[in-house]
Amino acid sequence: MNEGRREIVQLVFALVGIIFIVKLFFVQVLDNRYAELADGNAILREVEYPFRGLIYDRNNKLIVYNTPEFDIQVIIKDVKNFDSARFCAVFEISREELRARFKEMKARKEYSPFKPTLFLNQLSNIDFARVQDHLDEFPGFYIQARTTRAYQSPTLANALGYVSEISKENLARDASGIYKQGDYVGQSGIESFYEEQLRGKRGVRFKLRNVKGIEKGSFKNGEYDTLSTPGANLYTGIDIDLQQYGEFLMKGKAGSIVAIEPASGEILSLVSGPSYDPSLLTGRNYSSNFKLISNDTLKPLFNRPLMAQYRPGSIFKIAQAMTALQEKVITPDTRIRCDRTIINCHGAHTNEDLRGAIANSCNPYFHNVLRRMLNKGIVNDPFEDTRIGLEEWNKHIVSFGFGKRLGIDLPNEKDGLIPTPAYYDRAYRNRPWKFSNIYSIAIGEGENLVVPIQMANFAATIANRGYYYTPHLVKAIGENGKPLPQYLERHYTTIDSSYFVIAVDAMQKVVEEGTGQYRARLADVIVCGKTGTVQNAPPLFDHSVFIAFAPRDNPKIAISVYVEDAGQGARAAASIASLMIEKYLFGGTKRPHIEQYVLNNKFE
């Protein structure tokens, strides 16, 4: 039954042997391509690192560009007659350092004496020029060029972020397989958020090399080479001059300035104080500088405009007014007596209408307004009634962009906090609470938390009379890039736009007659603004806050300024905001005394 099967098996075994012999004859004897390739030659695989995309400001001024940098690689197998004393002299390193580097290199997991291994990284142009002429004295050492980030001015560090070697953890987490150990990757700010667009694509070149390591042209005429593709350039809405001016004004202060173009949501400047020079986090000294900066007690890496959460203070009264009008618990003409028994006030006023109450920042007025809003008497139970009122109130306030991150194109944006009934249930551990427990939210104190960018966005919303675009830094990717669609959508508040006119009137009044009149008023343009003084735990000074937009009609700039521990909003913050508006609209200030006041005053 199984006749002939033995022969079939034997035949198959023999046939495979014959196929091998024939194929080997082709590969070894007939085809001398391989002999050419080998015979002491070897293929060298050279990685071509792409140029990272550049970053421009709104006037097409360059902010971030690339500068060449050189790594020294070594193939241990090719090192001959190594003169370590000479090497140390040329590369300006100590003998111990040299020994440590060799040791570290050999300890690496992927180390092989036959492969190019990183020996010294990130030589600057200057170092390279010195070393270049001597490199032929050290066979086995090669140059790998790549680029590093460089900056036109030492500004905008926190928004831009930095680029550094990918960490082991991120490498392990990277599922795309794009990154390799030693690759550079955007670590924060725009560099991180737009990493995918900025990084470009690596190229690979295969070169032939003879025994002496001299290149002998490309392998198979470059059939397998791939060109590197540079990353896309980013066009931001930043006004770099305004940004520099803002950082100049914030020198020595902690806080933030956020300026937005209301008609587009483009961020004009994003100042975080204190900051650092972004060029410190490039090149060879990255690690030592990073350590220095991250250990700084003033936390220069903390991006305040997005991450610092403050109580909103009196500025919140505008949002309260809008909400109350929408809920029809007051009219613009409602007058409320300034009863200072429950809650304190400031300035000489007794019985204001809404505009006057905003201009004078009357605390009892808004205490009363919130009571009307939260306790409308929908149900008899005061606890339940507050609950219903707070739910309504929260819906309106959140529609201004508070309480939830706005979705700016930077990492690590914070939410802030606008309390809900559920929040108070947790806070009071399900014990009952009512208006008298929570009234401090009426004047922007209490549990409310906002971040500076939300405040700037709030100013932009009033400037637009009722809507905002998500604030963003990058308006286009690539030379002819279109505006990004997610930033073209209008976000409307729940408030009728007619009520915003009252807010605008009131804010104009603040600057012309109220708390902001001394330092925020400008001669050539109508500025609308609101001061805020955010309570701080004594003995620290209160935070000085100001939001504004200008001009009143067809506004070009909306701004929020936070200066920590600097007292009343009418002082430091109002001054800085008005100077920024002046700078942006007119190119500079006509009030050097205010500039001097900001720069020289310690605000203590």
Binding site: R6, F20, Q28, A38, I43
Partner: protein
Amino acid sequence: MSREADISGKLDWVSVLLYVAMVGLGWLNIFAAVYDETANQSIFDLSLNSGRQLMFIAAAVVIILAIIIIDMRFYEAFAYIFYAIILVVLVMVPLIGKEVGGNKSWIGVGSFGVQPSEFAKFITALAVAKFIGSVGFRMDSLRNQAVLFAMILFPLALILLQKDFGTAIVFLSFLVVFYREGMSPFILIVGISMAALAILTLIVKNQWYLHGIIGAVVVVLIFFGKRTVKRITTLIFGALILILTIESFDYVINNVLPERHKKRLEALVNPNFDPMGINWNVTQSKIAIGSGGFSGKGFLKGTQTKFDFVPEQSTDFIFCTIGEEHGWIGTLLVVTVFVFFLQRIIFIAERQKNRFARAYGYSVASIFFFHFAVNIGMTIGLFPVIGIPLPFFSYGGSALWSFTVLLFILLKLDAHRSQVLQRI
């Protein structure tokens, strides 16, 4: 006892000679693969693979003596017990094993590690042969076939769990034994065509070409042949199954697998895919072998294999060193010796007087053939890169001992073939 051990006159000395030649050549080439001219090393240096391999060879000699001394009935009698033990060990390996080069197939004994999966080969061969040799065994019984398949699939699956794909698929070589003992070639043909289809789906980007070819073949078969209803429906039905298979492969490859796995798979089935990326090893291996020319560069004169361009030079890619240093003459010799060796084993298997010994002989031949075909095929780009050693040539104790045991049990059985009752 003395009668058992004194079999020198009956031992198949041709096989022993071929064995000694291959192990000796392997040892010299292992030295060549790790040789560094600047280091002034000796072939006996225990810090080198060649020095250690010599120790493994010495141990192999002890193993051979033991096999020859032990009663020949022992192997058949204990086959199932060994098989049960090795399955338990294989289950335990992933739990207590250590990881070497991505596989978790080693268990440590002091500073040495052994790979139980290597020993599973000859143990499974004994068990399979015992089952085939048992009284009343008939290959045409479906139940028997199911048992046989289970016997090879258990170790295969357990070794797959150790992520050692190469060693796992070696167990498929038992199909040759089943075929020889009477299994219908249908399963072999279907299996091979399925594999071929999967590979074709990966290589041929547009699966409509494949559909077209299948359609054309069916049309031709219908026209030239008996046009009975049954035959035509069978043909059309078969073609539909093939087309569905292609479509499902295509779906899995393009929609289920992530891009980089797909690339790996493509590289796996097509050694000429991405020669500068994933298949960089094959490219370098071919350069090394190809540069050897007709007569090679001479012993210890190779450059490619020593420059670390070829990975695993002393284990899986040992053939590169032979090709580079001894040229086509060297590879011709090795391939010829191997083919001759395989034919000799089949010759030995066929002269056995019982089914157990014959089936075992075929197992030995198929396992050696599988390693030979896959290993050399991979170094010259005829086969995907699957890491399995070239028997007797590659560096490594477990592999050498396992192959030695495999061969010498057969030689022991062969020496006593005239003493067994005929059970064929």
